[in-house]
Symmetry: C2
Subunit: 319 residues, 2 copies
């Protein structure tokens, strides 16, 4: 009988799950809605039923050995979800304690960037690495930091919020309430803000002047840059410059072997990676120069969050 771990990724709209073998092979994945449930208990019941129904067709061949959960503001130590701004359940939800009523299995929970770090370590490009960082570049900037082969959770379970280090005092307003945070520059939304800054400061002709703020996507900007659009190219260069600059500061904390970049923005490829590496090297302290890789994540984006969550389960089982 083969073993699989259950990976669950809780997003603001959908909760995805999958059954994943130790080698990263997904035997099944599906989802339920996160919203529209009466309360957390009824949401967990609906999710558990869907999982159990799905698993019933595999139960002759596979054994479910553990559960890993990725959730915004997930606290690894307590198994809680705390004050997640994009979820219906406010305050502190004892997610793992409650969900154990449905699955009497080893169960662990962390935030999505930490789950991605473990995914990278178990199935991705960080297999065998003891010290690395993963940066997820989506709407915001998430981070998972690995030291001595373990994700850094810190004293309270909330370590690894590199998206909120300060780049510029009194800089761009961030969702967290501060100004100048890293993620207001280095993320899909940061790239868009940089384009709009350039539309103001420059007179260069660009078709991006015909797109309103809400409609403009990172993909649109990447496509324009590939077509030679100077504003789009410059926006990528500025984004990469700041990304490299602040990743150098992260190195000054934990001196990793590699930094993995993950998420939609990395689809821009060389346009992002080349200037990022250049700025990174320029800003590194001498002792770190020319020895730290900045490379794409080895996880496929389509199911990375579920993979990461399931990797957390495998990681716990191997402890």
């Amino acid at each position: 009988m083969k073993e699989v771990a259950l990976g669950i990724d809780i997003g603001g709209t959908f909760t995805k799950f999958g059954f994943i073998e130790r080698n990263g092979e997904a035997i099944y994945d599906s989802s339920v809605t996160t919203t529209g449930h009466k309360n957390i208990a009824s949401y967990q019941k609906a999710l558990a039923e869907e999982i159990k129904n799905s698993f019933s067709r595999f139960q002759d061949d596979y054994k479910l050995v553990g559960v890993g959960i990725g959730a915004p503001n997930g606290n690894y130590y307590k198994g809680t979800i705390e004050f997640a701004p994009n979820l219906d359940w406010k305050d502190v939800v004892p997610f793992v304690d409650m969900f154990k009523e449905h699955f009497d299995l080893p169960m662990a929970l962390t935030n999505d960037a930490n789950a991605a770090a473990i995914g990278e370590m178990i199935y991705g490009s960080a297999v065998g690495m003891k010290n690395f960082v993963i940066i997820t570049l989506g709407t915001g900037l998430g981070s998972g930091i690995v030291v001595n082969g373990e994700v850094v959770y810190g004293h309270d379970g909330f370590a690894g919020e590199v998206g909120h280090v300060q780049v510029y005092e009194n800089g761009r307003m961030c969702g967290c309430g501060h100004r100048g945070c890293f993620e207001t520059y280095a993320s899909a939304s940061g790239l868009r803000r940089t384009v709009f800054e350039l539309l103001c400061s420059e007179t260069t002709n660009t078709k991006l002047r015909n797109v309103n703020f809400n409609d403009m996507t990172a993909k649109m900007i990447a496509d324009a840059a590939k077509d030679g659009d100077q504003i789009a190219i410059e926006a990528f260069n500025i984004t990469a410059k700041i990304l490299g600059m602040k990743l150098a500061d992260t190195v000054a904390h934990t001196s990793p072997e590699a930094i993995f970049l993950f998420g939609g923005l990395t689809n821009a490829g060389d346009m992002l990676f080349i200037p990022t590496r250049e700025s990174f090297e320029e800003n590194l302290l001498k002792v770190y120069k020319n020895k730290i890789k900045i490379v794409p994540s080895g996880l496929q984006e389509t199911n990375a969050a579920v993979l990461g969550a399931s990797a957390l389960a495998w990681k716990e089982l191997e402890k």
Copy 2:
């Protein structure tokens, strides 16, 4: 027979050493010059002889069980001192391998800020803490980061160079060759630079206008501030503001339980700590607010470096 560890602190001018019991009690300390030796081998020979002579008077009552060494640019993994700018020996010195010819004992080496972190953990105010940071505020700013009860050495042995994160792009010139580094603002020399900035920008009367740049010390500025000197007070406020601001960024990496401040600048007491804590809380991400202490180190400054080095020896013995 009681046990003692040998702690050695290698400075640019003097090499201090001491025999320290597990409880932090120093039974003896002394020093030799670091400079003026023909080569590293003759320096080590002189140091070893002085240590052996000193220890001879204790050998009936004490057993030497291990050696810990704190050195600038010390590499914990390799036991090397690499490209230390203030030492006579350039390039990579295999310090531990060579010194084992004199003492056939467990031996470990790291940089002084990491040694201070271990000192804090073994003898100081971090006993029992698993996640904390120590910041040494001297001429520069050193840092030791502890995660899960272990100093973070990183992939290459050089983690924890928080003094070189960037505060301001194109800011003050740093000894490392970059501009805007944290230690050019938050350190004894940074405080002095801030005073001189204020002497330019303000017209406020202050006796600090009668002191030249090279003669001005942090103690002079602290004494002036205690006497109500407005420029000195403002210089402390600016220093503390930047210190708090960037320590909040460090928290976003490893989420420690406490940050210990160590070194001459901390003698200013409340004048430094109160505005630092204020700026720190203001800049922390919400999830970290009101739960992280910024407190003075529990190590006495007079022999902290030797204590820290000896603590490294004890820490290794307990592994």
